[in-house]
Symmetry: C2
Subunit: 412 residues, 2 copies
């Protein structure tokens, strides 16, 4: 006999992640999946991490005990130094919060800044997990289109003014994935970075700079993050160990204004008290021993090979099709405009035994969007980090056969 649970407004509106639903149909053993956004498990640095577990024994009284909500001291200091080095900013421990994945940065920041009905500006396309988190606090969205150079910041002021016109209030937050965005793979151009900071500062709107992929650049030189630049006091920087080390340790961080970080930490006390101390002590030791930078060198080479494999395979099999795309300089993803509705292509691709993610899930829905909502129907996200180069080659051939023109699909 079911109990009549009185669900909250948020729970009544909640929708399961469409990506997770898709995975239920993707799991066939002979399927080549380019769908998930997973790091390559064969490249996890198992040996050095396992060596570092000896610190858990040596310092078990710390590693197995409750820790500070703000994070394990040595890890906080490592993050502060790292972000200072990357950004040129002065970063104190009071500017750092260790979180249970960067999903928690979004959740804590959303709850610290947003009341139900508030508007968040997102890129279109953007990370669906961020949309989910912002929905969890009852937020609405305004969408700024993207191209191969990231958010079209030229359109941002009009979007801000549109929200003000339509709702009577300014948007409360700009959410941007600056480097090798999930899903678009785009890296925000330097001139747009400057303009974004100017606009955010002049309008008083905070910016969440989500940067899980910044260390995974395979081509060209890194651009300076938003955080720490002149005028960027409203920028909160989020980084993560999930893509550069391993997502199984749920470890990420927020770096920002000390008062804001304190507000997020106070909320976190009631959310999970603290992030896994065991994970923190282990990863702090891994970093202290200098393993991370050596691992990153290897990972850039490892993933560059896969990126090149997908670039070649797409050019080969889809070169003559209406599909078009830009090869990303880093990150995990190719983002294709298929030139046709991705839904039927997805269905045919499953028959061909290759899976990708249809683009629609990366766009806020029309009914939750203030102002113009952008259609994502023609897009496809392909992940190149999980599959092997051979699977990528075969998978792209199968994808070509799933296009309505048939492309020049390869052998199965």
């Amino acid at each position: 006999m079911a109990f009549p649970y009185p669900f909250s407004a948020v729970a009544r509106d909640a929708r399961p992640s469409p990506i997770r639903e898709l995975f239920k149909v993707i799991g066939r053993p002979d399927m080549i999946s380019l769908a998930g956004g997973l790091p390559d498990p064969t490249a996890f640095p198992v040996d050095p991490l396992m060596e570092c577990t000896e610190v858990l024994r040596e310092d078990a009284g710390t590693a197995l005990q409750y820790g500070a909500t703000e994070g394990f001291g040595p890890l906080v200091e490592w993050i502060a130094e790292r972000v200072a080095e990357r950004t040129g900013a002065r970063v104190e421990p009071a500017n750092v919060l260790v979180t249970t994945g960067s999903q928690q940065v979004m959740d804590l920041l959303a709850r610290t800044l947003l009341d139900p009905g508030d508007v968040v500006i997102v890129e279109a396309p953007t990370y669906p997990g961020a949309l989910h988190t912002f929905r969890n606090v009852g937020a609405r969205f305004a969408a700024v289109p993207c191209d191969e150079h990231g958010m079209q910041v030229e359109a941002l002021d009009a979007v801000i003014q549109g929200v003000r016109h339509d709702t009577g209030s300014l948007p409360k937050l700009v959410y941007t994935i600056v480097n090798f965005s999930n899903p678009s793979g785009a890296c925000l151009a330097e001139v747009r970075r400057r303009r974004l900071i100017e606009l955010a500062a002049s309008s008083g709107i905070p910016v969440l700079e989500d940067d899980p992929y910044g260390d995974l650049r395979y081509v060209g030189e890194p651009l300076r993050p938003l955080y720490g630049r002149e005028g960027a006091a409203g920028v909160v920087h989020a980084g993560s160990f999930s893509k550069i080390l391993a997502p199984g340790v749920r470890l990420a961080w927020a770096v920002g204004d000390a008062e804001l970080i304190r507000g997020m930490a106070i909320l976190k006390q009631g959310v999970d008290l603290c992030t896994s101390t065991l994970d923190q002590v282990l990863v702090a030791e891994y970093c202290r021993r200098g393993h991370l930078d050596r691992h990153l060198e290897r990972m850039r080479d490892h993933y560059r090979v896969k990126r090149d494999a997908m670039a070649e395979a797409l050019a080969h099999y889809l070169g003559g099709s209406p599909a078009n795309w830009h090869d990303p300089d880093g990150g995990f993803f190719f983002w294709l405009d298929l030139g046709e509705d991705a839904g039927p292509v997805f269905d045919r691709a499953l028959v061909e035994r290759v899976a990708f993610l249809p683009g629609r899930v990366f766009f806020p829905a029309a009914e939750e969007t203030v102002g113009e909502s952008l259609p994502g129907d023609r897009f496809a996200r392909l992940c190149f980090t999980f599959a092997s180069p051979a699977e990528i080659e075969t998978g792209c051939g199968r994808l070509a056969r799933a296009l309505s023109g048939g492309g020049r699909g390869g052998s199965v």
Copy 2:
């Protein structure tokens, strides 16, 4: 130059945990702390846990990768079996959600059930972390008094009707720590368990049965949990590895109605995606090898000695004072009615170099309470699990000297 962050209503109202603020004055090296609610770090099962890390190497592709939001399969199954065994209920994996500490059970359940302004019925006294979590979603409280047999369920119906009268709505949740409550140490009596279930069922109010201490009974026989009893469809059961194994692995669980668990899991996707896979794989292996039950046997003996040490020391030093208390049958805490305002006693106790937690933090404040608010000024919580028996003895002597009557304080 500070950025004018537009804080949310929840963040504007948030107060840092008063306990954490107290710890800033408690940290003197010659202080005997009976204040924190920490497990004994010298008793963590370091060797067997470290042996189990070999599974991390063997199954690194799982242990270091993203996992299911609902939890790591083998751990989910272990929890389902465990709770079925304890409760007599049929527990399927769909009834289980692995969480990042039981704090997250509260957070997810609160967000799934509560809208701002909704009322949660709590025991007075209750766990301050729960008050914090419910405040984070804008909840208000109604308080039911406790005695040495737990919540005075006889008063519950009047409290429910009072909330309905004062607010026009029923309370949305009853929060109860059934076994060896933090802070009261009380175990809910059998007759009250039955009556609580009847009342919750007839009024349609869900119950969160928080049970982190149930396996830590030092005297007498366990009582059957609320979950799984006839008529208890509205009960959600929360358990945790924090007190029975180690809090540094942030691992706990909710067990309840499958639809409710699914609602909580959907929210969790936007909160932290999943709980640390590394922690889950490690602890699942630890349990699979049968270590936990052996460890629990040892811990019950270990903590019983400490409980007895505090019982004796309190009887000896405070026996002639106006203070009174009941020796707990399990858990972590003694709860003393000092017979005078605990604030000045706390100040004098710090001078005497012993720390406890003043009782007021365990009661919701008057301004957030619907109906009668209960004063906690005269109470003190003493933790017996962290300090050694010798420290407990010395600490209780010091405490006696801090009472206004002076008790018969021991040597320093």
